[in-house]
C-alpha cells in the first residue's frame, strides 16, 4: 500500500511546483517615515493609518487608481427618493480573514463603532441620521439632509466583523489603552495582517480567499518604518527594501542617476497656502506697527499675493516638482473652478503700488509662522516668501517650529501670517470650504485659524452640500472660488509633490491622496 502511494505523492508535489512556477513567490519590502499608530480603522483619521489599513480592511466603496469611486463591499448604490439617503447593495459570499461571513449586520455594527464616542472618524457621518438594515444584503444610510457625495466620502469607512469585535472586546476603538483591534485585524481586504511589531515591522500576506482578483504577485509584504531619510535611502540603494515613500526632494537626482532605481513624482492633493489673521485687530509680531493689522485691508493681502513669485519657489525650492495653485484645492478635483484657475500675476511694482494705496508706502514688519517638519521644505518656502516680500518693503519675521507644537500656536492666534497645507479628504471643493473658510464654529471652520468670515460663503455651504444637480452645485462652487479670490482669503501657493522611490523592477500606482495600495504593486 505504502509503496504504491509514494510515487503519486511525488507526482503531486511536482505538479504543485509546476503550477507555482509562473506565479513566482515575491516578498515585497517597503518603508515609510511613519508607522501607523494603530491597526484600528476607526481610531485615527490620518493618512498613515488609513492608507495602511486599506490593504487589510475594505469599505463599501473604494477609490481606483484615478481616485474614481468603485464598488467594493457594496456592488451598487442608489440615492433614496427625496434625498433621504443612500441604499447600498452588499456583495455576497464575502468572508472576513477569520472565515466569518460578511453581511449587513457588520455594516450597521461598523457604523455604530465609527460614530461611538472614542472614534476619530465621526465627521464622515455628521449628516447621517440612521443606518438601517433592510435585509442581509441591503443597507440604507439615512441622511438628515440630501448628501449627493456621500458614497465617495465614506471610501475610507472600513468594515469590521461584528462577532469578532464582540468576542474580543473591541466594540469601540481604543483611546487611552489598547484593545484587541489595536494590534490585530480581521478585515475582508486583499492582505492579511500576519504579525505586528509596532514601530519595528509589520508583516502582511495575501488573502487567498479575497473576493476580487489579485493583480499583484506578492507572496508576502513587509513594512518597516524608517524615520531617518538618509537611512531609508541607504536601505533602498543597498537593495534591502524595494520601495520607500517619501524621499527628500534633494535626493531625487541621486536615486535617478543610479542604475536599477527609479523615482515616481506626482502631485499630491495638498495645496500649500498662506493664511492671514483676519480677526486680529493688531499685528502681534511687528517691530513698529503695533496698533493695527494691515492685512485687514484686502489691498495689502493682494499685494502679498502679487509679490510672491511661485514659479521661482517651485523651480528653486521644489525642484520643479510642484504645481502653482490658484485655489484651495488642486486642479482636476471635483468642484475645481475653471473660471478662477488663474493665479494672481507676479508683479512687485503693482504690489508696491497697492501697498502705497493702502497707506503703507514704506511697508511694515510682521510675524510669519511656519512648520519646519510638516510639508516638503516648508521652512525654506517660508524664508523664500519672506525674501520676496522684503522686496516690496514688507518684512516677515519667520518663526519656524516642529509641527508637534505648531497647531497649538495657530489655535492660540500666535501669528500674523501662517503657512498651511490642505488636502481635501473627500477630494471635493466642499471640504476646504467647510474647514478653511466657514466662520469658525464648533464643527465648521475648525481649521480656519485666521477667522476668515464671509456671510455669503457661510450661507452657501449647506446648499453646496445638499445640491443634487451637478450644474447648480458647480455654479455655487464657482461663486465661492470667486469670493475667496477677490477677498484674498488665502494665498494658495502650489500643490505639493509626492516623491516615491523604488527598485526599477517595481511598478506601483501613485494615488494623489498618498495612499499606497499593495494590490497594485507589480514586481517584474
Amino acid at each position: 500500500m505504502f509503496r504504491t502511494k509514494l510515487p503519486t505523492a511525488a507526482l503531486a508535489v511536482s505538479a504543485t511546483m509546476l503550477c507555482a512556477l509562473p506565479a513566482k513567490a515575491e516578498t515585497f519590502r517597503w518603508a515609510g517615515t511613519t508607522d501607523p499608530q494603530t491597526m484600528d480603522p476607526h481610531a485615527v483619521n490620518a493618512t498613515p493609518e488609513l492608507s495602511f489599513l486599506n490593504n487589510v480592511y475594505e469599505g463599501l466603496v473604494r477609490r481606483g487608481p484615478d481616485m474614481g469611486v468603485q464598488p467594493s463591499l457594496a456592488t451598487s448604490w442608489e440615492a433614496l427618493p427625496d434625498g433621504a439617503g443612500w441604499r447600498f447593495s452588499l456583495r455576497e459570499n464575502v468572508t472576513f480573514h477569520d472565515g466569518a461571513a460578511f453581511n449587513a449586520d457588520d455594516v450597521v455594527f461598523s457604523y455604530e463603532r465609527a460614530i461611538s464616542e472614542p472614534s476619530d472618524v465621526k465627521s464622515w457621518f455628521a449628516n447621517v441620521a440612521e443606518v438601517v438594515k433592510v435585509d442581509d444584503n441591503t443597507v440604507d444610510f439615512l441622511t438628515s439632509a440630501p448628501d449627493p457625495l456621500f458614497p465617495g466620502s465614506i471610501a475610507n469607512f472600513m468594515i469590521l466583523d461584528a462577532e469578532w469585535a464582540a468576542a474580543n472586546d473591541a466594540e469601540v476603538p481604543a483611546r487611552d489603552a489598547e484593545n484587541h483591534a489595536t494590534r490585530n485585524t480581521n478585515g475582508t481586504g486583499p492582505f492579511v495582517l500576519t504579525s505586528r511589531d509596532p514601530g519595528i515591522r509589520t508583516d502582511l500576506s495575501p488573502n487567498e480567499t479575497w473576493w476580487d482578483t489579485a493583480e499583484h504577485k506578492l507572496s508576502e509584504a513587509i513594512f518597516t518604518p524608517i524615520g531617518n531619510p538618509a537611512t531609508g535611502l541607504a536601505a533602498l540603494l543597498s537593495g534591502e527594501i524595494d520601495f520607500i515613500s517619501p524621499i527628500p526632494l534633494q535626493d531625487v537626482e541621486q536615486v535617478e542617476s543610479r542604475e536599477g532605481f527609479k523615482v515616481l513624482t506626482g502631485l499630491e492633493t495638498r495645496v500649500i497656502m498662506l493664511g492671514f489673521g483676519h480677526d486680529h485687530d493688531v499685528l502681534r509680531y511687528s517691530d513698529e506697527t503695533t496698533d493695527e493689522n494691515p492685512f485687514l485691508d484686502v489691498r495689502v493681502r493682494q499685494a502679498v499675493a502679487q509679490a510672491i513669485d511661485v514659479d521661482t519657489i517651485n523651480r528653486v525650492i521644489m525642484r520643479g516638482a510642484a504645481e502653482p495653485a490658484s485655489q484651495l484645492l488642486p486642479e482636476g478635483l471635483s468642484g475645481f473652478s475653471d473660471e478662477h484657475a488663474m493665479r494672481p500675476e507676479f508683479d512687485p511694482e503693482a504690489a508696491q503700488a497697492l501697498l502705497a494705496e493702502a497707506g503703507y508706502p514704506d511697508g511694515f514688519s510682521f510675524g510669519l509662522m511656519c512648520p519646519n517638519d510638516r510639508y516638503i521644505n516648508d521652512e525654506a518656502v517660508c524664508r523664500a516668501v519672506a525674501s520676496m516680500l522684503a522686496r516690496i518693503g514688507v518684512e516677515a519675521n519667520v518663526n519656524a517650529m516642529p509641527v508637534r507644537g505648531y497647531w497649538d500656536e495657530l489655535r492660540a492666534d500666535n501669528f500674523d501670517m501662517y503657512l498651511l497645507g490642505w488636502s481635501p479628504g473627500t477630494f471635493d471643493a466642499e471640504h476646504p470650504i467647510r474647514f478653511l473658510t466657514h466662520t469658525p464654529t464648533e464643527r465648521l471652520g475648525t481649521w480656519n485659524f485666521g477667522g476668515y468670515s464671509s456671510p455669503r460663503i457661510d450661507e452657501m455651504l449647506a446648499p453646496i452640500q445638499q445640491e443634487l444637480d451637478p450644474e447648480a452645485r458647480q455654479a455655487m462652487l464657482e461663486e465661492v472660488a470667486g469670493i475667496l479670490q477677490n477677498d484674498v482669503a488665502y494665498v494658495p501657493l502650489y500643490t505639493e509633490p509626492l516623491i516615491w522611490a523604488m527598485q526599477e523592477n517595481i511598478d506601483v500606482v501613485q494615488r494623489p491622496d498618498n495612499f499606497f495600495m499593495l494590490r497594485w504593486v507589480d514586481v517584474n
Binding site: Q37, G199, T231
Partner: protein, 324 residues
C-alpha cells in the same frame, strides 16, 4: 557591604524622582499630543474630551503625583501613540539597546586597552602616532556622520553589511537577541562600531595617559632597578595600577553609551529604547518619554553602583578598610 548597596538603591529612588520631576516639567513645552493623536476632522470638543480623559488638563503637580504613584505601583501607563502598555514597549526595546551598548563597549575595550598600552609604551613610534591621529578623527566627526559614512561604504557601495534594523533575531523568553544568528551579528557590526568609536578613543587615550603616568612612579622605577622582568613590570605592576581610574570612567561611560545610543539607533533604525524615545519626542508621547528618562536614570545609578563594587574587587586597600 549589603548596607552599602541598600543605601545606594535608596539614593537611586531620589535621583529618579528628581529626573521624573525635571522631565515632567519640560515636557509641557514639547508640544501638544492631542493634535498628533487625532485626524484633521476631529472637532475641538472631541479633542478636549480626549485631553480630559488623559488627564492633560490636570494641574502639573497632580499629573506628576499620578505618574509617580502609578510607577511605584509598577504601572508604567500606556503610550499615547500606540496605546501599548509602556512596560511591554520598553521590554521589547531594552534587549536591542543593551546588546548594542555591550558590544560597542566590548569593541572599545578590546581595541582600546591594547592600543592604549601600545601607544604608551612606544610613544614615538610611527604606528602609535598614526593610531593617535586616526582616533582623533574618530572623536571629531559627529556620530551620525560616522554612521552614515559607514552605511554608505559597507552597506551601499560594498554591499557587505545590512544598512538598518536588527536582522535575524532569536527570542529567548521575552528577550529578543541578535547575538545568536549570523544575520544578527552582521546587522550589529556597523551600529556597534559607530557607537563604540568614541568610547574606543576615550579608553585608549585614558589607558595611554595613565600608563605613562604609572611608568614614571617610584614603585615602577624600583622594580626596574631590582631587575624585575619588563613583561612583569608592564603587564602586572603598571597595568593593574592603570586600570582603577580606567574602570571608573568606562563604567560611567557605559551608562552614557546606553543613554546616548539615541543617535546611533536613529541612524541605523535600530529598534532600541533610544529610537523609541526619539519617536516619542516627535509624537509628544509624554508617558513614554517620562518612563524612558526614569529608566535611564535608574540605569546610571545601577552602573555607578556596579563600578563601586568593582573597586572592592580590584583595589585591595578598600577591602582592608571595610573589614577593619
Amino acid at each position: 557591604m549589603a548596607g552599602f548597596i541598600l543605601k545606594r538603591l535608596v539614593q537611586s529612588i531620589f535621583v529618579m524622582l528628581a529626573v521624573a520631576f525635571l522631565a515632567f516639567s519640560l515636557f509641557r513645552f514639547v508640544g501638544d499630543p492631542i493634535s498628533q493623536m487625532t485626524g484633521i476632522e476631529t472637532t475641538a470638543a472631541d479633542q478636549e474630551r480626549l485631553r480630559e480623559e488623559l488627564g492633560l488638563n490636570d494641574p502639573f503637580f497632580k499629573q506628576f503625583a499620578r505618574f509617580t504613584g502609578d510607577i511605584l505601583h509598577g504601572d508604567f501607563g500606556y503610550s499615547f501613540r500606540t496605546r501599548e502598555p509602556i512596560g511591554d514597549m520598553l521590554l521589547t526595546r531594552l534587549p536591542a539597546t543593551l546588546e548594542l551598548g555591550t558590544v560597542a563597549l566590548l569593541i572599545s575595550l578590546i581595541v582600546g586597552i591594547p592600543a592604549g598600552i601600545y601607544t604608551a609604551l612606544n610613544p614615538r613610534g610611527v604606528m602609535s602616532q598614526s593610531i593617535l591621529i586616526g582616533t582623533l578623527i574618530g572623536v571629531s566627526i559627529p556620530t551620525f556622520v560616522i554612521g552614515i559614512l559607514l552605511i554608505f561604504l559597507f552597506g551601499v557601495q560594498l554591499g557587505w553589511l545590512p544598512t538598518y534594523g536588527r536582522g535575524g533575531t532569536v527570542e529567548i523568553g521575552w528577550w529578543r537577541s541578535s547575538l545568536f544568528t549570523i544575520e544578527g551579528w552582521r546587522s550589529l557590526v556597523l551600529p556597534a562600531l559607530t557607537l563604540g568609536l568614541f568610547q574606543l578613543t576615550l579608553t585608549m587615550r585614558l589607558v595611554r595617559a595613565q600608563m605613562m603616568e604609572v611608568m614614571r612612579t617610584d614603585h615602577i622605577r624600583f622594580a626596574i632597578a631590582r631587575g624585575v622582568p619588563w613583561r612583569s613590570i608592564r603587564y602586572r605592576h603598571a597595568l593593574s595600577n592603570t586600570m582603577i581610574p580606567v574602570i571608573t570612567i568606562i563604567g560611567l561611560q557605559f551608562g552614557g553609551v546606553i543613554a546616548f545610543s539615541i543617535v546611533t539607533e536613529s541612524v541605523f533604525q535600530w529598534p532600541g529604547m533610544g529610537l523609541l524615545f526619539l519617536e516619542s519626542i516627535r509624537f509628544v508621547d509624554i508617558p513614554v518619554m517620562s518612563v524612558y528618562l526614569v529608566v535611564i536614570a535608574f540605569f546610571f545609578v545601577l552602573v555607578n553602583l556596579l563600578v563601586d563594587l568593582l573597586y572592592f574587587a580590584i583595589d585591595p586597600r578598600l577591602r582592608v578598610r571595610e573589614s577593619t
